[in-house]
């Protein structure tokens, strides 16, 4: 799924990464625990989170995820925007809750990062 499709499906606002909307995301992950985000995510993964702090950006950079979506209309602060831009990490905000946002993406064909044996 391309990032502009994610934007449209989630009615999201793009805080950083307008020029990267052609990027392909291969899977999605959602989490409010840094360790879960670190464990399940990698390159090509779109991460949705209810967190809204600078550590979320750093966690995403460390995990090497492709893009971040803040759920429930959370607005990132200036430092978050700056760091996202510095690391080339697209940052979006959706008005939907975590459940609804994940559901909409799943319905549109995006799948999770679950290990095969759990499916």
């Amino acid at each position: 799924m391309k990032l502009f499709e994610v934007r449209d499906i989630l009615k999201a606002k793009v805080t950083y990464g307008e020029e990267k909307l052609d990027m392909v995301v291969q899977a999605g992950a959602g989490g409010d625990l840094m360790s879960d985000i670190l464990r399940g995510s990698k390159e090509g993964v779109l991460v949705l989170s209810g967190l809204n702090n600078i550590q979320l950006i750093r966690t995403a950079v460390i995990a090497g995820v492709s893009a971040l979506v803040l759920v429930r209309g959370k607005e990132p602060d200036e430092e978050m925007k700056k760091q996202a831009a510095e690391h080339g990490l697209p940052l979006l905000t959706t008005p939907f809750t975590m459940f609804t946002a994940c559901g909409r993406l799943f319905r549109a064909g995006l799948r999770g990062v679950d290990p095969k044996k759990t499916l």
């Binding site: 670190l38 600078i54 950079v61 460390i62 430092e79």
Partner: protein
């Protein structure tokens, strides 16, 4: 690539800066040209360990030691130490503060994540005397 050693100071409870050291390490490893998988493992472990120092330790430092065939991280801090290392290694066990939990930390997955993503892990700690965590990776 020649052998390389570098020290990075880490400040306890500085949540605004926390993680910067690991991002610097990640950048350095990328510039050296290690495989993305090794860089992912090292960065993840460095970040979890750095956050441990920030959340639980006292001021400390990371020594990064890099050679062509391996990467080693050693985190030392002068904090209160780990009372029960066995317990600290259990998934879900956490003594994180409310402040750290509100930020999304304190899931009790830090050390288990490190164990899972490294090739060796050694923890030396004495109550009241700080903690020394050595993490090794084979490139």
């Amino acid at each position: 690539m020649p052998h390389l050693t570098k020290n990075y100071p880490i400040k306890a409870r500085d949540y605004l800066k926390a993680g910067e050291v690991s991002i610097q390490v990640q950048g350095l490893l990328k510039s050296i040209g290690f495989t993305p998988e090794l860089i992912r493992r090292v960065s993840l472990c460095a970040y979890e360990a750095e956050m441990n120092v920030v959340m639980h330790g006292g001021d400390g430092e990371l020594t990064l030691d890099v050679d062509t065939d391996r990467v080693s991280l050693e985190f030392r801090d002068g904090g209160p130490g780990i009372e029960d290392i066995g317990l600290a290694l259990q998934e879900g066990y956490s003594t994180a503060s409310e402040e750290a939990r509100e930020m999304g930390f304190g899931a009790g997955m830090g050390l288990p994540n490190i164990q899972k993503n490294s090739d060796s892990l050694e923890i030396l700690s004495e109550k009241g005397k700080g903690t020394d965590v050595k993490i090794g990776f084979i490139a």
